[in-house]
Amino acid sequence: MHSFSSKYLRLSILLPGLLVLLISDILLGSVHIPLRDTLSILTGGESEVKAWSYIIYNIRIPKALTAVLAGAALSVSGLQMQTLFRNPLASPSELGISAGAALGTGFLIFAGGAAGSIVNLHRLGIGTSWLLALSASLGAALVFSVLLVISRFVRDHVVLLIVGLLLGTLTLSLTTIWQYYSKPEQLQAFISWTFGSLGGVSGHQLTVLASVSITGILVSFSLSKTLNALLLGEQNAATLGISIQKARTFILINTCILTGTVTAFCGPIGFIGMAVPHLTRSLLNTSNHLVLLPACCLTGAMLLLACDIIAQLPGSGFVLPINVATSLVGAPIVIWIILKMNNLRNSF
């Protein structure tokens, strides 16, 4: 397609941006490490203070990588959901999928914690890391399945959003009931998890997060033909030879695994999944998923890195929960989307 390569060209402009944000994210933190030392540590050199090297390799790089992976994974989830539901307001956090993942995570913390094994989420072995990801994904799939059934009866975008928010509330209240019967240290572990954090995902968890995110994103690329056909609506896509049942199942599973795993390790992170696909569409002016999917990965990674930098409150020594930062950045974008709804209402 004639405009195709120019879209990829515009896409590649994002790469230096990603690099700048990645380095800034590694550079900034509660401990001040000068730029020159940071760069020399990153390029394998020595630094003045031994601790700096430790901080960068064991805290900041894993955190930045987590931001990149989680940002990309959540954005791809959001894009898949928006196309499947043909709804500009669809996204994992707003339609209760993240809440489902929270239910799955809570299940493991409270039930597993009863056996005394999973109180500190950040010291999990490889087996329990996979278990946590699986449990969260199943929780997400539970809510997603209910949503798919309900969406057949709901034509209006905003109504589906409200239904999703209610489903999320319902799911969270189930988790809350559970909290009554839990020990204080489990409760603390769960509450601090709900704030969301990109830090502390390292070692085994990072391995699991990376393998799931990268696999899920590759699967979504392989779905791009199906997703493009779905732009015309399910019925029209069916007449183009797309198996709708198969498409739904694949998108459901892929979205739930991506969202579930990210949520399991980073907590529920709001707004990224809804905002990034819109930013990307208006940036590249395309609906073609072959372009949108890689673009969402880049934009999502960049936005979550930016949120992480904001969360550091550079120069202050305080760190905000990542959820607060994504809300500060994401909520205005979502309001802007809703204000634009007059144009958007018919565009899916």
Partner: protein, 338 residues
């Protein structure tokens, strides 16, 4: 015969079992013909098209493409035999006409959906055949209703199928766009020997331009035939009429409202050409009956000389000359008793 049905009953699943809207449908679509599907609202036009497309289960019987039940076809194989344009309003600001039409290549592209040179040629060719080459780069949200329908038809053309079904492509279109679209459909059917089926409310255009009519008779059966046969058999005038209010005039092929009652006097009319035709229409519309030109006490004579036309209204050897139909009607109305 690419598409046939056998004792097909169509309908939907209601609260108490299946509700059938039409039954015992046996028909076939032949290549190279444009077929129009007519019927009043709710008669089952969309249901029939969706059932033929395999998107909906028949209540009984079967719809077959090349002798095989549509619901047994592999969906990708079927999409190379039959293209369907449903009534769905697409307004995506990030999707151009070219990209929309390119989606018609879905059944042929590789797993990523990238377009080969042949695919691109097909897309351009389809856009040209649909008569919208200048719109290729435009966003689908900027199209008029007529342009959007042509773009959707181009998408169906890009699918390179022997069968094309369209559900009410002329809805919401103005008269010129309707004629233009149906002309393109007919041209496609005739020049590429495809079977093209479209449902419509547009009786007069369907009678004029389609090779074949499928007509829901309002009692759960589907009548088929050439437009003229269905007219002469009286089916059209029976279905398209409201006794005493309006109806299909078998003599002119138009839907006409009867004259206002009570009827006015008989008027003799003489003249020729389009002026005669439209003067006659004006008189009937306003409630006069037409008598032979000397069979009535009152008469209108149309005189043409070069570009100018005069209507001479005469009654009891009084004459008035009118310069247009409005004046003529005014003289007839007021009579000559001033």
């Amino acid at each position: 015969m690419t598409l046939t049905t056998h004792e097909l009953s169509i309908g939907y699943a209601g609260k108490s079992g299946h509700v059938s809207v039409a039954a015992g449908i046996n028909l076939s679509l032949s290549p190279g013909k444009l077929t129009a599907l007519l019927g009043r609202n709710g008669s089952g036009k969309s249901t029939l098209i969706r059932t033929l497309a395999g998107l909906q289960k028949p209540v009984a019987g079967s719809a077959m493409v090349e002798g095989r039940d549509v619901r047994e076809w592999d969906s990708q194989d079927l999409s190379r035999k039959m293209a369907v344009v449903l009534q769905e309003q697409l307004r995506n600001p990030n999707l151009t006409v070219y990209e929309l039409v390119a989606l018609g290549r879905t059944p042929y592209t590789n797993w990523l959906g990238t377009l080969s040179k042949e695919d691109n040629d097909q897309v351009l060719g389809s856009i040209r055949k649909a008569g919208i080459p200048e719109l290729s780069g435009r966003g689908t949200h900027l199209l008029s209703d007529g342009e959007r329908q042509k773009a959707m038809f181009a998408r169906a053309l890009a699918q390179e199928t022997p069968l094309i079904l369209l559900d009410e492509p002329t809805a919401h279109l103005d008269i010129l766009s309707r004629i233009e679209l149906i002309r393109i459909l007919r041209l496609t059917a005739h020049t590429e020997s495809k079977s093209v089926l479209f449902s419509t409310h547009d009786l007069e255009l369907a009678l004029q331009m389609s090779d074949q009519l499928w007509l829901f008779d309002g009692r759960g059966a589907l009548l088929t035939g050439t437009p003229e046969d269905l007219v002469l058999q009286g089916h059209i005038s029976r279905l398209y009429s409201q006794p005493g209010e309006w109806g299909f005039d078998i003599a002119t092929g138009e839907i006409v409202a009867p004259a206002p009652s009570p009827l006015k006097k008989a008027v003799g009319l003489s003249g020729e050409g389009p002026e005669y035709f439209w003067t006659r229409k004006a008189l009937i519309r306003t409630g006069y009956t037409i008598a032979g030109h000397d069979g009535a006490g009152c008469s209108v004579r149309i005189e043409k000389s070069g570009q100018s036309v005069r209507w001479i209204v005469s009654e009891n050897s009084n004459e008035q000359i009118a310069g247009n139909i409005a004046e003529m009607l005014a003289y007839l109305e007021t009579g000559f008793n001033d």
